[in-house]
Protein backbone atom coordinates (compact mmCIF):
# COMPACT_ATOMS: atom_id res chain seq x y z
CA UNK A 1 0.00 0.00 0.00
CA UNK A 2 1.57 3.24 -1.00
CA UNK A 3 1.00 6.75 0.19
CA UNK A 4 -0.59 7.58 -3.11
CA UNK A 5 -3.37 5.16 -2.33
CA UNK A 6 -4.86 6.12 1.00
CA UNK A 7 -7.53 3.72 2.05
CA UNK A 8 -10.85 4.52 3.51
CA UNK A 9 -10.93 1.29 5.41
CA UNK A 10 -11.18 0.89 9.12
CA UNK A 11 -8.38 2.11 11.29
CA UNK A 12 -7.34 -1.35 12.33
CA UNK A 13 -4.39 -1.82 14.57
CA UNK A 14 -0.88 -1.81 13.36
CA UNK A 15 1.64 -4.27 14.55
CA UNK A 16 2.23 -7.94 14.66
CA UNK A 17 -0.73 -10.09 14.03
CA UNK A 18 -2.24 -7.74 11.49
CA UNK A 19 -2.66 -9.08 8.01
CA UNK A 20 0.23 -8.11 5.79
CA UNK A 21 -0.30 -6.04 2.68
CA UNK A 22 1.32 -6.54 -0.71
CA UNK A 23 4.70 -5.52 0.69
CA UNK A 24 4.50 -8.14 3.38
CA UNK A 25 4.22 -5.33 5.89
CA UNK A 26 1.42 -5.04 8.42
CA UNK A 27 -1.44 -3.02 7.04
CA UNK A 28 -1.19 0.54 8.15
CA UNK A 29 -4.96 0.97 8.03
CA UNK A 30 -4.76 4.52 6.74
CA UNK A 31 -8.06 6.25 7.24
CA UNK A 32 -7.14 9.78 6.24
CA UNK A 33 -6.53 11.28 2.85
CA UNK A 34 -5.26 14.63 1.61
CA UNK A 35 -8.50 16.31 2.68
CA UNK A 36 -7.85 15.31 6.30
CA UNK A 37 -4.27 16.46 5.97
CA UNK A 38 -5.30 19.87 4.66
CA UNK A 39 -8.01 20.27 7.30
CA UNK A 40 -5.61 19.34 10.10
CA UNK A 41 -2.84 21.63 8.88
CA UNK A 42 -5.15 24.63 8.34
CA UNK A 43 -6.79 24.11 11.74
CA UNK A 44 -3.42 23.76 13.48
CA UNK A 45 -2.12 26.89 11.78
CA UNK A 46 -5.12 28.92 12.94
CA UNK A 47 -4.93 27.49 16.46
CA UNK A 48 -1.26 28.35 16.83
CA UNK A 49 -1.96 31.81 15.42
CA UNK A 50 -4.70 32.60 17.93
CA UNK A 51 -2.72 31.06 20.80
CA UNK A 52 -0.10 33.75 20.28
CA UNK A 53 -2.68 36.53 20.66
CA UNK A 54 -0.25 39.37 21.25
CA UNK A 55 1.72 38.50 18.14
CA UNK A 56 -1.46 38.10 16.10
CA UNK A 57 -2.92 41.41 17.31
CA UNK A 58 0.39 43.19 16.89
CA UNK A 59 0.61 42.00 13.27
CA UNK A 60 -2.81 43.45 12.50
CA UNK A 61 -2.18 46.70 14.37
CA UNK A 62 1.18 47.23 12.70
CA UNK A 63 -0.35 46.53 9.30
CA UNK A 64 -2.88 49.30 9.85
CA UNK A 65 -0.36 51.57 11.60
CA UNK A 66 2.06 51.65 8.67
CA UNK A 67 -0.73 52.41 6.24
CA UNK A 68 -1.98 55.20 8.50
CA UNK A 69 1.54 56.58 8.65
CA UNK A 70 1.75 56.58 4.86
CA UNK A 71 -1.72 58.02 4.37
CA UNK A 72 -1.70 60.80 6.97
CA UNK A 73 2.01 61.47 6.53
CA UNK A 74 1.53 61.58 2.76
CA UNK A 75 -1.35 64.02 3.12
CA UNK A 76 0.81 66.33 5.17
CA UNK A 77 3.67 66.16 2.70
CA UNK A 78 1.94 65.75 -0.67
CA UNK A 79 -1.56 67.02 0.10
CA UNK A 80 -4.05 66.35 -2.66
CA UNK A 81 -1.64 64.21 -4.67
CA UNK A 82 -1.76 61.39 -2.15
CA UNK A 83 -5.55 61.62 -1.97
CA UNK A 84 -5.86 61.36 -5.75
CA UNK A 85 -3.79 58.19 -5.88
CA UNK A 86 -5.13 56.64 -2.70
CA UNK A 87 -6.99 53.77 -4.40
CA UNK A 88 -3.78 52.58 -6.01
CA UNK A 89 -2.00 52.90 -2.70
CA UNK A 90 -4.66 50.85 -0.93
CA UNK A 91 -4.54 48.07 -3.51
CA UNK A 92 -0.74 48.07 -3.52
CA UNK A 93 -0.63 47.97 0.27
CA UNK A 94 -3.21 45.19 0.34
CA UNK A 95 -1.10 43.12 -2.04
CA UNK A 96 2.03 43.93 -0.03
CA UNK A 97 0.47 42.63 3.18
CA UNK A 98 -0.71 39.53 1.31
CA UNK A 99 2.69 38.83 -0.21
CA UNK A 100 4.52 39.60 3.01
CA UNK A 101 2.18 37.30 4.93
CA UNK A 102 2.75 34.47 2.48
CA UNK A 103 6.51 34.99 2.26
CA UNK A 104 7.24 35.47 5.95
CA UNK A 105 4.53 33.01 6.98
CA UNK A 106 5.98 29.97 5.26
CA UNK A 107 9.58 30.96 5.94
CA UNK A 108 8.98 31.47 9.65
CA UNK A 109 6.80 28.39 9.86
CA UNK A 110 9.56 26.14 8.55
CA UNK A 111 12.11 27.67 10.89
CA UNK A 112 9.75 27.53 13.87
CA UNK A 113 9.04 23.85 13.21
CA UNK A 114 12.79 23.20 13.21
CA UNK A 115 13.19 25.00 16.54
CA UNK A 116 10.15 23.26 18.04
CA UNK A 117 11.49 19.85 17.02
CA UNK A 118 8.41 19.14 14.92
CA UNK A 119 9.92 19.60 11.44
CA UNK A 120 11.30 16.08 11.37
CA UNK A 121 7.91 14.67 12.33
CA UNK A 122 6.45 16.42 9.29
CA UNK A 123 9.15 14.86 7.18
CA UNK A 124 8.17 11.39 8.36
CA UNK A 125 4.61 11.33 7.11
CA UNK A 126 3.08 8.89 4.67
CA UNK A 127 1.83 11.88 2.68
CA UNK A 128 5.38 12.98 1.90
CA UNK A 129 7.10 16.19 2.93
CA UNK A 130 6.12 18.02 -0.26
CA UNK A 131 2.35 17.68 0.18
CA UNK A 132 2.66 18.60 3.86
CA UNK A 133 4.61 21.76 3.01
CA UNK A 134 2.08 22.63 0.29
CA UNK A 135 -0.74 22.12 2.81
CA UNK A 136 1.10 24.47 5.16
CA UNK A 137 1.37 26.99 2.33
CA UNK A 138 -2.37 26.78 1.74
CA UNK A 139 -3.00 27.30 5.46
CA UNK A 140 -0.74 30.32 5.57
CA UNK A 141 -2.26 31.86 2.43
CA UNK A 142 -5.75 31.33 3.86
CA UNK A 143 -4.80 33.02 7.13
CA UNK A 144 -3.04 35.81 5.28
CA UNK A 145 -6.11 36.50 3.15
CA UNK A 146 -8.20 36.72 6.33
CA UNK A 147 -5.85 39.16 8.07
CA UNK A 148 -5.21 41.22 4.93
CA UNK A 149 -8.99 41.52 4.42
CA UNK A 150 -9.23 43.05 7.89
CA UNK A 151 -6.42 45.48 7.08
CA UNK A 152 -8.14 46.33 3.77
CA UNK A 153 -11.42 47.03 5.51
CA UNK A 154 -9.72 49.33 8.02
CA UNK A 155 -7.86 51.12 5.20
CA UNK A 156 -11.14 51.80 3.40
CA UNK A 157 -12.73 53.07 6.61
CA UNK A 158 -9.71 55.22 7.35
CA UNK A 159 -9.64 56.82 3.90
CA UNK A 160 -13.39 56.91 3.36
CA UNK A 161 -12.95 55.42 -0.11
CA UNK A 162 -14.63 52.50 -1.79
CA UNK A 163 -13.17 49.94 -4.14
CA UNK A 164 -14.60 47.37 -6.48
CA UNK A 165 -14.35 44.02 -4.78
CA UNK A 166 -15.13 41.32 -7.31
CA UNK A 167 -14.43 38.55 -4.85
CA UNK A 168 -13.62 35.78 -7.34
CA UNK A 169 -11.30 38.01 -9.36
CA UNK A 170 -9.54 39.41 -6.30
CA UNK A 171 -9.02 35.96 -4.79
CA UNK A 172 -7.80 34.31 -8.00
CA UNK A 173 -5.54 37.18 -9.07
CA UNK A 174 -4.35 37.72 -5.49
CA UNK A 175 -3.51 34.03 -5.09
CA UNK A 176 -1.63 33.86 -8.35
CA UNK A 177 0.12 37.14 -7.57
CA UNK A 178 1.45 36.00 -4.21
CA UNK A 179 2.50 32.58 -5.48
CA UNK A 180 5.88 34.09 -6.35
CA UNK A 181 6.25 35.49 -2.83
CA UNK A 182 5.32 32.09 -1.45
CA UNK A 183 7.97 30.49 -3.64
CA UNK A 184 10.53 32.94 -2.34
CA UNK A 185 9.43 32.19 1.23
CA UNK A 186 9.86 28.46 0.60
CA UNK A 187 13.35 29.03 -0.79
CA UNK A 188 14.29 31.18 2.21
CA UNK A 189 12.73 28.63 4.58
CA UNK A 190 14.92 25.97 2.98
CA UNK A 191 17.99 28.16 3.40
CA UNK A 192 16.95 28.72 7.01
CA UNK A 193 16.86 24.96 7.61
CA UNK A 194 20.32 24.73 6.08
CA UNK A 195 22.04 27.80 7.52
CA UNK A 196 19.80 28.49 10.56
CA UNK A 197 20.24 32.27 10.75
CA UNK A 198 19.27 34.17 7.65
CA UNK A 199 17.15 36.93 9.18
CA UNK A 200 19.21 39.77 7.70
CA UNK A 201 18.71 38.58 4.13
CA UNK A 202 15.12 37.60 4.81
CA UNK A 203 14.20 41.00 6.23
CA UNK A 204 15.91 42.83 3.40
CA UNK A 205 14.04 40.86 0.77
CA UNK A 206 10.60 41.83 2.04
CA UNK A 207 11.28 45.45 1.16
CA UNK A 208 12.03 44.32 -2.37
CA UNK A 209 8.35 43.40 -2.64
CA UNK A 210 7.47 47.10 -2.69
CA UNK A 211 9.57 47.53 -5.82
CA UNK A 212 8.04 44.47 -7.45
CA UNK A 213 4.47 45.52 -6.64
CA UNK A 214 5.06 48.98 -8.06
CA UNK A 215 7.02 47.73 -11.10
CA UNK A 216 5.98 49.64 -14.25
CA UNK A 217 4.74 46.59 -16.10
CA UNK A 218 2.71 48.67 -18.57
CA UNK A 219 5.76 50.68 -19.62
CA UNK A 220 8.60 48.19 -19.37
CA UNK A 221 7.37 44.92 -20.81
CA UNK A 222 9.85 42.54 -19.21
CA UNK A 223 8.91 43.61 -15.67
CA UNK A 224 5.68 41.63 -16.19
CA UNK A 225 7.74 38.50 -15.75
CA UNK A 226 9.01 39.44 -12.31
CA UNK A 227 7.29 37.99 -9.25
CA UNK A 228 4.23 39.98 -8.09
CA UNK A 229 4.46 42.57 -10.90
CA UNK A 230 1.82 41.21 -13.29
CA UNK A 231 -0.51 40.29 -10.44
CA UNK A 232 -0.16 43.75 -8.96
CA UNK A 233 -1.08 45.46 -12.24
CA UNK A 234 -4.09 43.18 -12.73
CA UNK A 235 -5.27 43.57 -9.14
CA UNK A 236 -5.12 47.35 -9.54
CA UNK A 237 -7.34 47.14 -12.60
CA UNK A 238 -9.74 44.72 -10.93
CA UNK A 239 -10.15 46.76 -7.76
CA UNK A 240 -10.06 50.29 -9.17
CA UNK A 241 -11.64 49.79 -12.60
CA UNK A 242 -13.88 46.81 -11.84
CA UNK A 243 -12.28 44.57 -14.48
CA UNK A 244 -13.39 40.95 -13.99
CA UNK A 245 -11.18 37.92 -14.40
CA UNK A 246 -12.68 36.93 -17.73
CA UNK A 247 -12.33 40.44 -19.06
CA UNK A 248 -8.51 40.40 -18.93
CA UNK A 249 -6.55 39.68 -22.08
CA UNK A 250 -5.64 35.97 -22.34
CA UNK A 251 -1.96 36.96 -22.62
CA UNK A 252 -2.14 38.80 -19.30
CA UNK A 253 -3.72 35.79 -17.60
CA UNK A 254 -1.17 33.46 -19.21
CA UNK A 255 1.70 35.60 -17.89
CA UNK A 256 0.10 35.72 -14.45
CA UNK A 257 -0.36 31.94 -14.32
CA UNK A 258 3.03 31.26 -15.90
CA UNK A 259 4.98 33.45 -13.48
CA UNK A 260 3.03 32.05 -10.52
CA UNK A 261 3.84 28.46 -11.49
CA UNK A 262 7.44 29.33 -12.37
CA UNK A 263 8.35 31.15 -9.16
CA UNK A 264 6.41 28.82 -6.88
CA UNK A 265 8.02 25.86 -8.63
CA UNK A 266 11.49 27.36 -8.38
CA UNK A 267 10.93 28.15 -4.71
CA UNK A 268 9.74 24.64 -3.99
CA UNK A 269 12.69 23.20 -5.92
CA UNK A 270 15.09 25.33 -3.87
CA UNK A 271 13.34 24.22 -0.68
CA UNK A 272 13.55 20.55 -1.70
CA UNK A 273 17.24 20.86 -2.58
CA UNK A 274 18.01 22.69 0.66
CA UNK A 275 16.24 20.09 2.80
CA UNK A 276 17.98 17.29 0.93
CA UNK A 277 21.32 18.95 1.60
CA UNK A 278 20.30 19.45 5.23
CA UNK A 279 19.63 15.71 5.44
CA UNK A 280 23.03 15.02 3.91
CA UNK A 281 24.66 17.30 6.48
CA UNK A 282 22.52 15.91 9.30
CA UNK A 283 21.08 19.30 10.25
CA UNK A 284 17.42 18.96 9.22
CA UNK A 285 16.09 19.18 12.76
CA UNK A 286 18.82 21.41 14.17
CA UNK A 287 18.08 24.90 15.31
Amino acid sequence: MTAAEPTDGSAGRSGAGVAPDADGAPESGRTAGYRHLLKAVVYRDLLVWVRYPVDAAFGLVMGVFFFGLMFYGGQMVAGQAITDSIEGLIVGYFLWTLSLGAYAGIMNDVQSEASWGTLERHYMTPFGFGPVVLAKSVAIVFRTFCTSAVVLAVMLLMTGRTLDLPVLTVIVVGLLAIAGALGLGLAMGGLGVLYKRISNVANFLQFGFIGLISAPSFDIWWTKFLPLAQGSAMLQRAMTEGVRLWEFEPTAIAILVGTAVLYLGLGYLAFARATKRARRLGVLGDY
Binding site: A3, A11, G17, D23, A25, S28, T31, W116, E120
Partner: protein, 363 residues
Protein backbone atom coordinates in the same frame (compact mmCIF):
# COMPACT_ATOMS: atom_id res chain seq x y z
CA UNK B 1 36.49 -8.54 36.15
CA UNK B 2 34.32 -10.34 33.73
CA UNK B 3 33.99 -7.12 31.90
CA UNK B 4 37.58 -7.49 30.95
CA UNK B 5 37.04 -10.87 29.46
CA UNK B 6 33.94 -9.67 27.64
CA UNK B 7 35.71 -6.61 26.38
CA UNK B 8 38.54 -8.77 25.23
CA UNK B 9 36.06 -10.92 23.35
CA UNK B 10 34.60 -7.89 21.74
CA UNK B 11 37.82 -6.30 20.75
CA UNK B 12 39.33 -9.41 19.42
CA UNK B 13 36.48 -10.56 17.55
CA UNK B 14 33.26 -10.38 19.30
CA UNK B 15 30.61 -10.94 16.90
CA UNK B 16 28.75 -8.06 16.00
CA UNK B 17 27.47 -7.21 12.86
CA UNK B 18 30.78 -5.95 11.82
CA UNK B 19 31.66 -9.38 10.81
CA UNK B 20 33.42 -10.68 13.84
CA UNK B 21 32.05 -13.43 15.97
CA UNK B 22 31.78 -13.32 19.69
CA UNK B 23 30.01 -15.48 22.15
CA UNK B 24 28.12 -12.50 23.53
CA UNK B 25 26.17 -11.57 20.46
CA UNK B 26 23.26 -13.02 18.57
CA UNK B 27 22.66 -13.16 14.87
CA UNK B 28 21.99 -9.61 13.88
CA UNK B 29 20.54 -10.01 10.44
CA UNK B 30 17.90 -12.48 9.33
CA UNK B 31 18.33 -14.42 6.12
CA UNK B 32 15.32 -12.65 4.63
CA UNK B 33 15.27 -8.86 5.20
CA UNK B 34 11.54 -8.81 4.57
CA UNK B 35 10.93 -10.87 7.71
CA UNK B 36 12.24 -8.14 9.98
CA UNK B 37 10.24 -5.18 11.21
CA UNK B 38 13.43 -3.22 10.77
CA UNK B 39 16.46 -4.23 8.74
CA UNK B 40 19.63 -2.17 8.68
CA UNK B 41 22.61 -3.30 6.65
CA UNK B 42 25.99 -1.64 6.24
CA UNK B 43 24.99 1.86 7.35
CA UNK B 44 27.82 4.36 7.10
CA UNK B 45 27.91 8.11 7.46
CA UNK B 46 30.81 10.54 7.46
CA UNK B 47 30.28 14.23 8.17
CA UNK B 48 32.66 16.71 6.62
CA UNK B 49 35.60 15.91 4.42
CA UNK B 50 39.37 15.90 4.37
CA UNK B 51 41.07 16.49 7.69
CA UNK B 52 37.79 17.51 9.29
CA UNK B 53 35.93 14.35 8.29
CA UNK B 54 34.18 12.61 11.17
CA UNK B 55 33.10 9.02 10.71
CA UNK B 56 29.91 9.16 12.74
CA UNK B 57 28.65 5.71 11.79
CA UNK B 58 30.59 2.84 10.27
CA UNK B 59 29.17 -0.39 8.90
CA UNK B 60 26.23 -0.58 11.28
CA UNK B 61 23.94 -3.54 10.72
CA UNK B 62 21.16 -5.02 12.77
CA UNK B 63 17.65 -6.32 12.45
CA UNK B 64 14.65 -6.04 14.74
CA UNK B 65 11.92 -8.64 14.69
CA UNK B 66 8.24 -7.64 14.86
CA UNK B 67 7.23 -7.12 18.46
CA UNK B 68 10.81 -6.92 19.67
CA UNK B 69 12.18 -4.11 21.83
CA UNK B 70 15.77 -3.18 21.21
CA UNK B 71 17.79 -0.79 23.32
CA UNK B 72 20.40 1.32 21.63
CA UNK B 73 23.16 2.27 24.01
CA UNK B 74 26.39 4.15 23.75
CA UNK B 75 28.19 7.11 25.21
CA UNK B 76 27.48 10.53 23.76
CA UNK B 77 29.04 10.75 20.34
CA UNK B 78 28.91 6.99 19.82
CA UNK B 79 26.75 7.40 16.73
CA UNK B 80 23.32 6.54 18.15
CA UNK B 81 21.53 9.65 16.95
CA UNK B 82 23.10 9.49 13.50
CA UNK B 83 22.13 5.84 13.28
CA UNK B 84 18.54 6.51 14.30
CA UNK B 85 18.16 9.50 12.01
CA UNK B 86 19.76 7.62 9.11
CA UNK B 87 17.45 4.68 9.66
CA UNK B 88 14.51 7.10 9.57
CA UNK B 89 15.76 8.82 6.42
CA UNK B 90 16.25 12.13 8.25
CA UNK B 91 19.97 11.91 7.62
CA UNK B 92 21.14 10.63 4.25
CA UNK B 93 23.79 7.99 4.86
CA UNK B 94 26.74 7.48 2.54
CA UNK B 95 26.06 3.76 2.37
CA UNK B 96 23.58 1.28 3.67
CA UNK B 97 20.27 -0.39 3.21
CA UNK B 98 17.32 0.25 5.55
CA UNK B 99 13.97 -1.49 5.31
CA UNK B 100 10.86 -1.18 7.41
CA UNK B 101 8.78 -4.34 7.03
CA UNK B 102 10.71 -4.97 3.83
CA UNK B 103 10.07 -1.50 2.42
CA UNK B 104 13.19 0.43 1.43
CA UNK B 105 12.95 3.70 3.36
CA UNK B 106 15.09 5.61 0.86
CA UNK B 107 13.36 4.26 -2.25
CA UNK B 108 9.79 4.34 -0.93
CA UNK B 109 9.76 6.66 2.07
CA UNK B 110 6.02 7.33 2.03
CA UNK B 111 5.16 3.65 2.17
CA UNK B 112 7.74 3.07 4.90
CA UNK B 113 6.52 6.03 6.97
CA UNK B 114 3.09 4.43 7.16
CA UNK B 115 4.63 2.04 9.68
CA UNK B 116 7.22 4.03 11.57
CA UNK B 117 7.40 7.18 13.69
CA UNK B 118 9.81 8.54 16.24
CA UNK B 119 10.07 10.60 19.37
CA UNK B 120 13.37 12.28 18.72
CA UNK B 121 13.46 15.48 20.64
CA UNK B 122 11.78 14.43 23.82
CA UNK B 123 9.61 17.20 25.13
CA UNK B 124 10.38 19.41 22.14
CA UNK B 125 8.44 17.24 19.81
CA UNK B 126 4.98 18.75 20.03
CA UNK B 127 3.19 22.06 19.79
CA UNK B 128 3.29 23.58 23.23
CA UNK B 129 0.53 26.07 22.46
CA UNK B 130 -1.89 23.30 21.54
CA UNK B 131 -3.64 21.14 24.09
CA UNK B 132 -2.64 17.55 24.71
CA UNK B 133 -5.58 16.21 22.75
CA UNK B 134 -5.09 18.66 19.90
CA UNK B 135 -1.52 17.40 19.56
CA UNK B 136 -2.64 13.79 19.46
CA UNK B 137 -5.26 14.55 16.83
CA UNK B 138 -2.93 16.64 14.68
CA UNK B 139 -0.08 14.16 14.60
CA UNK B 140 -2.48 11.31 13.92
CA UNK B 141 -3.89 13.23 10.95
CA UNK B 142 -0.51 13.95 9.38
CA UNK B 143 0.26 10.26 9.80
CA UNK B 144 -2.69 9.41 7.61
CA UNK B 145 -5.12 8.59 10.40
CA UNK B 146 -8.53 10.19 10.67
CA UNK B 147 -8.41 11.47 14.26
CA UNK B 148 -12.16 10.98 14.64
CA UNK B 149 -11.66 7.23 14.33
CA UNK B 150 -8.96 7.25 17.01
CA UNK B 151 -10.77 8.97 19.85
CA UNK B 152 -11.00 5.79 21.93
CA UNK B 153 -7.38 4.96 21.28
CA UNK B 154 -6.33 8.45 22.31
CA UNK B 155 -8.45 8.25 25.47
CA UNK B 156 -6.78 4.97 26.30
CA UNK B 157 -3.30 6.42 25.81
CA UNK B 158 -4.17 9.47 27.90
CA UNK B 159 -5.31 7.16 30.70
CA UNK B 160 -2.22 5.01 30.43
CA UNK B 161 0.08 8.00 30.65
CA UNK B 162 -1.91 9.77 33.40
CA UNK B 163 -2.79 12.59 31.05
CA UNK B 164 -6.57 12.18 31.00
CA UNK B 165 -7.12 15.08 33.38
CA UNK B 166 -4.92 17.30 31.27
CA UNK B 167 -6.36 16.43 27.86
CA UNK B 168 -7.56 19.99 27.32
CA UNK B 169 -4.53 21.67 28.89
CA UNK B 170 -1.99 23.43 26.71
CA UNK B 171 1.23 21.43 26.64
CA UNK B 172 3.27 24.48 27.68
CA UNK B 173 1.45 24.45 31.04
CA UNK B 174 2.60 20.93 31.84
CA UNK B 175 5.74 19.83 33.64
CA UNK B 176 8.70 18.60 31.64
CA UNK B 177 7.94 15.02 32.50
CA UNK B 178 4.35 15.37 31.36
CA UNK B 179 5.45 17.04 28.15
CA UNK B 180 7.64 14.00 27.60
CA UNK B 181 4.61 11.77 28.02
CA UNK B 182 2.59 13.87 25.56
CA UNK B 183 5.33 13.39 22.99
CA UNK B 184 5.28 9.69 23.55
CA UNK B 185 1.49 9.51 23.38
CA UNK B 186 1.42 11.52 20.15
CA UNK B 187 3.84 9.06 18.56
CA UNK B 188 1.94 6.00 19.75
CA UNK B 189 -1.38 7.66 18.91
CA UNK B 190 -0.58 7.57 15.21
CA UNK B 191 -1.12 3.84 14.91
CA UNK B 192 2.44 2.91 13.97
CA UNK B 193 3.93 -0.57 14.24
CA UNK B 194 7.56 0.53 14.64
CA UNK B 195 8.55 3.40 16.93
CA UNK B 196 11.87 4.95 17.83
CA UNK B 197 12.02 6.51 21.28
CA UNK B 198 14.95 8.71 22.16
CA UNK B 199 15.34 9.06 25.93
CA UNK B 200 11.66 8.33 26.70
CA UNK B 201 12.07 8.77 30.46
CA UNK B 202 14.19 11.90 30.42
CA UNK B 203 12.83 14.37 32.95
CA UNK B 204 10.50 11.91 34.62
CA UNK B 205 10.55 11.34 38.36
CA UNK B 206 11.21 7.82 39.66
CA UNK B 207 7.56 6.87 39.99
CA UNK B 208 6.58 8.24 36.58
CA UNK B 209 9.55 6.54 34.98
CA UNK B 210 8.59 3.22 36.51
CA UNK B 211 5.00 3.57 35.37
CA UNK B 212 6.04 4.57 31.88
CA UNK B 213 8.35 1.59 31.62
CA UNK B 214 5.50 -0.70 32.63
CA UNK B 215 3.15 0.90 30.13
CA UNK B 216 5.68 0.63 27.35
CA UNK B 217 6.22 -3.02 28.06
CA UNK B 218 2.46 -3.56 28.20
CA UNK B 219 1.96 -1.81 24.87
CA UNK B 220 4.61 -4.00 23.33
CA UNK B 221 3.13 -7.18 24.72
CA UNK B 222 -0.47 -6.30 23.91
CA UNK B 223 -0.07 -4.60 20.57
CA UNK B 224 2.99 -6.24 19.13
CA UNK B 225 4.65 -2.87 18.84
CA UNK B 226 8.27 -2.90 17.71
CA UNK B 227 10.42 -0.44 19.61
CA UNK B 228 13.93 0.88 19.32
CA UNK B 229 14.77 2.73 22.51
CA UNK B 230 17.79 4.94 22.92
CA UNK B 231 18.40 5.81 26.54
CA UNK B 232 21.00 6.51 29.15
CA UNK B 233 18.57 5.18 31.74
CA UNK B 234 19.66 1.60 32.24
CA UNK B 235 16.45 0.77 34.08
CA UNK B 236 14.55 1.51 30.88
CA UNK B 237 16.81 -0.83 28.98
CA UNK B 238 16.61 -3.59 31.58
CA UNK B 239 12.85 -3.30 32.14
CA UNK B 240 11.64 -2.74 28.61
CA UNK B 241 14.16 -4.16 26.16
CA UNK B 242 14.57 -7.69 24.90
CA UNK B 243 17.88 -6.96 23.29
CA UNK B 244 20.65 -4.40 23.52
CA UNK B 245 22.82 -2.93 20.82
CA UNK B 246 25.83 -1.09 22.19
CA UNK B 247 27.64 1.37 19.97
CA UNK B 248 30.98 2.99 20.45
CA UNK B 249 32.98 5.15 18.04
CA UNK B 250 30.30 4.75 15.38
CA UNK B 251 30.30 0.96 15.43
CA UNK B 252 28.14 -1.74 16.93
CA UNK B 253 30.32 -3.44 19.52
CA UNK B 254 27.68 -5.65 21.11
CA UNK B 255 24.34 -6.95 19.90
CA UNK B 256 22.88 -9.34 22.42
CA UNK B 257 19.90 -10.10 24.60
CA UNK B 258 19.73 -8.33 27.94
CA UNK B 259 19.82 -11.67 29.77
CA UNK B 260 22.92 -12.90 27.94
CA UNK B 261 24.66 -9.63 28.44
CA UNK B 262 24.07 -9.65 32.17
CA UNK B 263 24.84 -13.37 32.41
CA UNK B 264 28.28 -12.65 31.02
CA UNK B 265 28.94 -10.59 34.13
CA UNK B 266 26.91 -12.38 36.73
CA UNK B 267 29.45 -14.80 38.18
CA UNK B 268 32.42 -12.84 37.18
CA UNK B 269 33.24 -11.39 40.56
CA UNK B 270 33.06 -12.10 44.25
CA UNK B 271 32.95 -9.95 47.35
CA UNK B 272 34.74 -11.48 50.37
CA UNK B 273 34.46 -10.45 54.00
CA UNK B 274 37.33 -11.91 56.04
CA UNK B 275 38.92 -11.65 59.49
CA UNK B 276 42.63 -11.63 60.28
CA UNK B 277 43.94 -9.97 57.18
CA UNK B 278 46.86 -7.69 57.97
CA UNK B 279 48.70 -5.52 55.47
CA UNK B 280 51.23 -8.20 54.59
CA UNK B 281 48.49 -10.67 53.78
CA UNK B 282 46.61 -8.16 51.75
CA UNK B 283 49.76 -7.25 49.81
CA UNK B 284 50.29 -10.89 49.02
CA UNK B 285 46.71 -11.27 47.83
CA UNK B 286 47.03 -8.15 45.73
CA UNK B 287 50.11 -9.55 44.04
CA UNK B 288 48.40 -12.79 43.18
CA UNK B 289 44.86 -11.63 42.43
CA UNK B 290 42.96 -8.67 41.02
CA UNK B 291 41.68 -7.20 44.28
CA UNK B 292 39.52 -4.10 44.22
CA UNK B 293 37.47 -2.12 46.70
CA UNK B 294 39.49 -3.14 49.73
CA UNK B 295 38.08 -1.69 52.94
CA UNK B 296 38.37 -2.39 56.65
CA UNK B 297 35.28 -2.61 58.86
CA UNK B 298 35.45 -3.35 62.61
CA UNK B 299 38.32 -5.80 62.38
CA UNK B 300 37.02 -7.30 59.22
CA UNK B 301 38.27 -6.69 55.71
CA UNK B 302 36.07 -6.57 52.65
CA UNK B 303 37.33 -6.76 49.08
CA UNK B 304 36.17 -7.71 45.62
CA UNK B 305 38.01 -9.90 43.20
CA UNK B 306 37.52 -10.78 39.56
CA UNK B 307 37.70 -14.54 39.30
CA UNK B 308 36.59 -17.49 37.27
CA UNK B 309 35.96 -20.76 39.13
CA UNK B 310 39.60 -21.91 39.02
CA UNK B 311 40.82 -18.58 40.33
CA UNK B 312 38.13 -18.66 43.02
CA UNK B 313 39.48 -21.93 44.42
CA UNK B 314 43.09 -20.74 44.21
CA UNK B 315 42.09 -17.66 46.18
CA UNK B 316 40.27 -19.59 48.90
CA UNK B 317 43.29 -21.94 49.20
CA UNK B 318 45.61 -18.97 49.57
CA UNK B 319 43.37 -17.37 52.21
CA UNK B 320 43.26 -20.63 54.10
CA UNK B 321 47.08 -20.80 54.06
CA UNK B 322 47.16 -17.29 55.51
CA UNK B 323 44.74 -18.41 58.22
CA UNK B 324 42.00 -16.00 57.30
CA UNK B 325 38.47 -16.57 58.56
CA UNK B 326 35.97 -16.05 55.80
CA UNK B 327 32.86 -14.37 57.18
CA UNK B 328 31.05 -14.20 53.89
CA UNK B 329 31.23 -14.51 50.13
CA UNK B 330 28.82 -12.79 47.76
CA UNK B 331 28.57 -13.00 44.03
CA UNK B 332 28.97 -9.58 42.54
CA UNK B 333 26.22 -9.02 39.99
CA UNK B 334 26.88 -5.90 38.01
CA UNK B 335 23.86 -4.22 36.50
CA UNK B 336 23.59 -3.21 32.88
CA UNK B 337 25.10 0.18 33.60
CA UNK B 338 28.22 -1.45 34.91
CA UNK B 339 28.34 -3.83 31.97
CA UNK B 340 27.93 -0.92 29.60
CA UNK B 341 30.74 1.04 31.21
CA UNK B 342 33.02 -1.98 31.08
CA UNK B 343 32.33 -2.54 27.42
CA UNK B 344 32.62 1.00 26.19
CA UNK B 345 35.47 1.82 28.50
CA UNK B 346 33.74 4.99 29.60
CA UNK B 347 30.81 6.28 31.51
CA UNK B 348 27.19 6.11 30.47
CA UNK B 349 27.06 9.71 29.42
CA UNK B 350 30.66 10.23 28.49
CA UNK B 351 31.18 12.59 25.63
CA UNK B 352 33.21 11.80 22.60
CA UNK B 353 34.11 15.24 21.28
CA UNK B 354 35.31 13.96 17.95
CA UNK B 355 32.07 12.29 16.95
CA UNK B 356 29.96 14.87 18.69
CA UNK B 357 31.36 17.55 16.45
CA UNK B 358 29.79 16.04 13.38
CA UNK B 359 26.39 16.88 12.04
CA UNK B 360 24.61 17.86 15.20
CA UNK B 361 25.28 14.52 16.80
CA UNK B 362 23.68 14.26 20.24
CA UNK B 363 23.37 18.00 20.41
Amino acid sequence: MAGESLQADVSDGSRGVDGSDAATAVDALPADPDEAALYVDGLAKTFGSGDEAVEAVQDVSFAVEPGEVVGLLGPNGAGKTTTIKSVLGLVLPDEGDVRVHGIDIYERPRAAYEHVDAMLEGARNDYWRLTVRENLRYFAAIRGQDPDTLTDRHDELLEQFDLADFADTAVRDLSRGMKQKVSLASVLGGNVSVAFLDEPTLGLDVESSLKLRRELRRLVDERGLTLVVSSHDMEVIEDVCDRVIIMNDGRVIVDDTVESLLAGFETAGYRFTVRGADDAVLDDLRERFDLTGVESLDGRTRFEVAADSATFYRLTDTMERHGLDVDGVETVQPDLAEAFVEMTGGSVGEANPKAASGGGEDR
